[in-house]
Amino acid sequence: MIAAALSTVTLTVLLVGLGLALVQARRWRAGRSAKVGVWAGLAALPARYLVDVHEVVGRTPFNARFHALTAGGFLASLALSVALALPPLRHPLLWGLLALTLAVMLAGGMMVGYRRRVLRPAELSGGRFSRLPLALTGFSAAFLLVALDQSAGGILPVWLVLTLVAVGGWGLAELVFGVWNGPLKHAVHGALHLAFHPRPARFHDGAGRDTGLRPLDLAQADAPLGAGQAVDFAWNRLLGFDACVQCGRCESACPAYAAGLPLNPKKLVQDLVLSLDDGSDDRAYAGHGHPGRPVGAAVTGPTRPLVGADALIHPDTLWACTTCRACVQECPMMIEHVDAVVDLRRFQTLERGATPVKAAGVLEELRATDTPSGRALDRRLDWAVDLRLPVLAAGETCDTLLWLGDGAFDLRNQRSLRALVLLLRRAGVEFAVLGAAELDCGDVARRLGDEATFQDLARRNIQTLEARRFRRIVTADPHAFHCLRNEYPALGGRWTVQHHSAVLLELLTSGALTVTRPLDGPVAYHDPCYLGRYNGEIDAPRAVLDAIGAQRREMERSGLRSRCCGGGGGAPLTDVVGERRIPDMRMDDARATGAPTLAVGCPTCTLMLEGVVEPRPQVAELAELVLTATEPTP
């Protein structure tokens, strides 16, 4: 009777839960269609969970442990509880097994309780999550007692056991009904998100990294460009938002949030989740909000404008993002925050013309002059007159095509480009530049949502490049590197593209460059987001520094978990005000190392970090350091 009661309660709760999940699924089914490999995705799900999700969760081992105990114990106990519905299986051994899984889950639940009640990490949301430990321990403890009692042959009075089943049933219901709008939502949605993820290539069964934005079909007549309302997102994007467990890892990683800019990526995702509810608001959200922004002011709805002064997402929130991907890097649910931000920006820019003032000016310049600063293209080589750079004309061939980027228009970055040119010459690399034929790569336009300008620039750049022959493209600009390497292929341009750090390493390793004056001093290295997180290149710059004798010091937050300089995604143009400047915070990380030199490998990082008031470490571009270290001895 006890077994029947327990399995019935379990089955009933699970069936109700399934129903709730199906109703919930209808929400995100309202989104746009998306091409998804359903069966392949489902087949890949377990491995993605065990490899990719585990890699992220495992960065905080305590969490990984309680999650494994709780989720493992829970799933196993559910299976065993359901199995008890079959009378032949109602064996004390099964009860014993059930007791074991429940004990495991209880341990995990107590750890969850310890985390939520004692450790209380600031980034965790409260609300329904506050009841999670009670539900976990309530269910597992009550059923554990039942299982122990039954495996021992039934010692306790039946009324007591039935009461325990009821208590456990309440805990179970609390957990399972959470698939509707509670903590356990993430289990169902997270699993489905893994299977139907919009970027399957990011998992270990794909390329392992997939960061290029997808081209927007500008010709589509029936639907708006970008996402103006919740239903403008593809269904699997909405599914992804629903997978959010509000763990706050993104919040802890976000440079904008840390600087007090009105952006909390966790809240942003929750805004997108809430927007699917009609006529509600965000009052029930129990985590940190967007700094400086009130909650409860806007009404939600799947077809209401998402962004606006009175909408759920304030424009300042949207434009504060630096697209640094720190949130994506940290998200255990594999949510693609930056894609969402760009989709929202695309709508604002392309459909509403609502790009913030300075950014709109830059987009105007890009459309009119093909450079963000409005300079004539033939001025790109002004700084290099005395270097007499060979310009590769259409039909000509060279080994290395040096993509100069927008840094060539900037006084500071001209210095590092000069150093790079001198190094290539010193090493005997045969190279050429495009000269006036090089247009802006389109990075800023694209991150600001101006997909039309990006595609226009990209297509014309691709035409230019296709008319010339070369072995590889080398650039000192990680943003150009990312566009050319990861985003041009979707438009038909495929070349070998290298960041100059990899080339310098190659030249140092091959002996083409010889270290004559080792650096001999501590150097901190700042990973550019578009090189590190976007392209996974964190080793070559470090190896270059090691090769020239630097005593390398790692900053708080480095490598793939580096902190943004504040310069990506057009953020310096949208210029949303916060409590601090992002580069100031980053420079504090550099100061803390005590190194007098901060090495950088990105023109934007150079400008952002050098803009920090002194006293501070001197900012030096990798090429500049290598140039000094390989100066021929007289």
């Binding site: 001025r379 002004d382 700084w383 007159v385 005395d386 270097l387 006084l411 500071r412 001209q414 210095r415």
Partner: protein, 678 residues
């Protein structure tokens, strides 16, 4: 207005030549030539600017094309024969290596030179009219002179091309032969070379036509000319515009390098090379007027000492290339610093005219504040780090002490600078109080700012004693305590005050004042001007043959102009022999140095300028315990070897006026030469 970098770091293409930015240095004659050739010293001086990022450096001011235009006696360049070509090749390679272009100025001086030197040939000109500056009357050119001189211009042009130079300009400014023909004040001919402007332009046109025939149309040839001679019987702005347009339209010239004024007399000369009393870019309107009318690039130099002014000149369209010639003498790395965003590190020309004043008395051009300029073979513009870090205590924050502190800090030493006064500057702070001499403070302001940037610890208001210095446990002590005014030793010297008393405000000049100047430098003249502007009735007396006799040609006329304007009485050839009181007033006894007759002046105040005596007390206190007993090893100093520094105790050095009263350059050279090797 865009930033200076945005405007100035924009290339300019002239025919096949692309100049990397808009800043150049005009041809001048620093007196570095040797046997009429630009040898190592000359080349290194220009190479430094090329290294420093300049687009175009032009050398060889007034380089001669013919034997009757002597060059060698003033250490200038002669392009009158082929022996110069190998030097030009070496020079071109040296400058091109750093991405800069190199051009020369060619000229025939006509009557603007001397006949009593080199080959002792008579001077020639359009007409036989006496030239006041060089005090000679030329021969009027006859037919074969035309043939000869035109051919020598063409031959010189060929040598430039063969020497690998990127081009050259002909000088038709400052009263050289070509503009002697242009100017109605000189040209009184009645043949086809005189009379109408068309006729007066003819000689120059024939010269350029011969040059074009020799070097072709694709070689870069320009002209340097005045935009207005600013004299009654000279070329007007309208004339100059016509000339420039005519030459340009005929395809004879590829650029025009415009200046204002001429150099016929002392004042005109001073105006054409404006010193610190002038506003910046005083003649910018003249190249601007020509640029409106010609389709070729316009260059211009004349007191453009800062990059903001240079940028304005280009951005507003007055000129295409702005010449910062003296600015590069002060800091040959000007453009590199602009490109590196290090504007604060630019050592800006203060317009003292020290560089140019020296060459008119047969010296070499040296910068009042940069001891490395013109000494590139021995003095570095960029100070290298020392192998070992030392503790250096410098006493005195005048030019010598500041330069010592700066160079030692650049060397990587730990430097403490002690200064008695509440601020840095030393004697420059005193000198700068005298009217138009104010800009001198730029020298010590830059040095102070550099010292601070380099981490020198400066303690103001500290009277350094031997105990205090030794307590710092220095490896090196540099005493740069400067001097104090010499009050003289004539009877009654205690009744006179000094220029320092007046300029620092200790004594307020009132009533009638006798300024007695025993040095003939800026001090006496500028102090007299200072007192006269404050309402005193001033007489300046000097044993020299003229007032401010030791002041150079671009500065002395300004002193004289000011003294005349202010009604200062000037008494020369008299020595002050005695002062005695009469009531509250003073009587000065002045003795004529030639007749020995004595005159008396009854005045309210007597101010004397007799130079300085060294402040050597601290040096003497430190000397006994110093490992080197204060001795500078002169052989090591001159050969660029480090002075020996003891392993225990300290080495002691004394520099600047603390040794013997000299000048700002001497103080800075003392410091830089000693410290670059420490």
């Amino acid at each position: 207005m865009p930033s200076p970098a945005e405007t100035l770091l924009k290339p300019l293409t002239i025919k096949h030549l692309t100049l990397r930015n808009r800043v150049m240095s005009t041809s001048h004659a620093p007196g570095y030539g040797s046997e009429g050739k630009p040898k190592e010293r000359y080349q290194l001086y220009h190479e430094e600017k090329a290294k420093g990022g300049i687009a175009l450096t032009m050398f060889g001011g007034s380089s001669s094309v013919a034997v009757d235009s002597p060059a060698a006696p003033w250490n200038q360049i002669s392009v009158a024969d082929d022996s110069v070509i190998p030097f030009l090749r070496e020079f071109s390679d040296r400058v091109h290596r750093h991405g800069a272009a190199l051009m020369i100025q060619l000229t025939h001086m006509g009557r603007r030179t001397r006949w009593d030197t080199e080959h002792w040939l008579p001077t020639v000109s359009a007409s036989a009219r006496r030239e006041p500056a060089h005090r000679n009357t030329p021969k009027e050119m006859e037919d074969w002179d035309f043939t000869r001189i035109i051919a020598s211009f063409a031959a010189a042009a060929r040598r430039c091309k063969e020497g690998g130079l990127d081009g050259f300009e002909l000088s038709a400014a400052h009263g050289h032969l070509i503009d002697q023909f242009w100017s109605p004040s000189v040209n009184r001919r009645t043949d086809k070379y005189g009379g109408s402007l068309e006729n007066r332009m003819r000689f120059g046109i024939e010269v350029f036509e011969a040059i074009r025939a020799e070097v072709g149309d694709d070689y870069i040839v320009g002209i340097r000319m005045s935009g207005d001679e600013l004299i009654d019987d000279g070329l007007t702005n309208e004339d100059c515009v016509t000339i420039a347009r005519t030459y340009a339209e005929r395809g004879l010239i590829d650029f025009v390098n415009v200046l204002g004024g001429q150099a016929r007399d002392h004042m005109a000369h001073a105006i054409s090379l404006p010193n610190m009393s002038f506003p910046v870019a005083p003649f910018l309107h003249l190249p601007s007027s020509i640029k409106r009318e010609v389709g070729i690039p316009v260059f211009h130099a004349q007191r453009v000492t800062d990059l903001a002014t240079a940028a304005r000149a280009v951005e507003e369209g007055h000129v295409d290339m702005v010449a910062m010639t003296r600015a590069h003498i002060a800091d040959p790395h000007l453009m590199r610093k602009l490109a590196e965003g290090r504007l604060d590190d630019v050592r800006q020309c203060v317009g003292a005219g020290y560089c140019i004043d020296r060459i008119y008395v047969g010296g070499d051009a040296l910068c009042i504040q940069n001891a490395a300029t013109g000494r590139e073979a021995t003095m570095p513009h960029v100070i290298a780090k020392a192998p070992a870090r030392r503790r250096v205590v410098v006493v005195g924050a005048g030019p010598a002490g500041l330069e010592a502190a700066r160079v030692c800090a650049e060397r990587g030493h730990s430097v403490l600078l002690l200064e008695r006064a509440p601020a840095s500057g030393g004697q420059i702070s005193v000198a700068a109080k005298a009217t138009w001499r104010e800009a001198l403070t730029g020298i010590t302001r830059w040095l102070t700012q550099q010292a601070v940037r380099l981490g020198v610890e400066i303690r103001y208001g500290v009277e350094a004693t031997a105990a205090l210095v030794q307590a710092e446990q220095p490896d090196v002590v540099i005493v740069a305590t400067g001097g104090r005014p010499d009050r003289g030793d004539f009877p009654g010297a205690d009744l006179a005050v000094t220029t320092w008393d007046v300029l620092t405000g200790v004594v307020e000049p009132t009533g009638s004042v006798l300024m007695y100047d025993g040095t003939g430098q800026h001090h006496g003249a500028s102090c007299a001007e200072f007192m006269a502007t404050r309402g005193a009735l001033v007489e300046i007396a000097t044993p020299d043959r003229m007032v401010a006799e030791e002041v150079g040609t671009t500065n002395q006329p300004i002193h004289l102009r000011e003294l005349y304007r202010l009604g200062v009485m000037m008494t020369t050839n008299h020595t002050l022999v005695e002062v005695y009181p009469e009531g509250n007033r003073r009587v000065a006894v002045l003795r004529n140095d030639y007749t020995h007759e004595e005159e008396e002046r009854l005045v309210d105040q007597i101010v004397v300028e007799l130079g300085t005596q060294p402040n050597d007390g601290l040096y003497l206190d430190l000397k006994e315990q110093a490992a080197n007993r204060g001795q500078t090893d002169l052989d090591r100093l001159l050969s660029g070897q480090p002075q020996p520094v003891p392993t225990s105790g300290y080495a002691l050095f004394r520099i600047g006026d603390a040794v013997a009263g000299r000048n700002i350059h001497a103080a800075i050279y003392d410091a830089a030469r000693l410290c670059k090797d420490l």
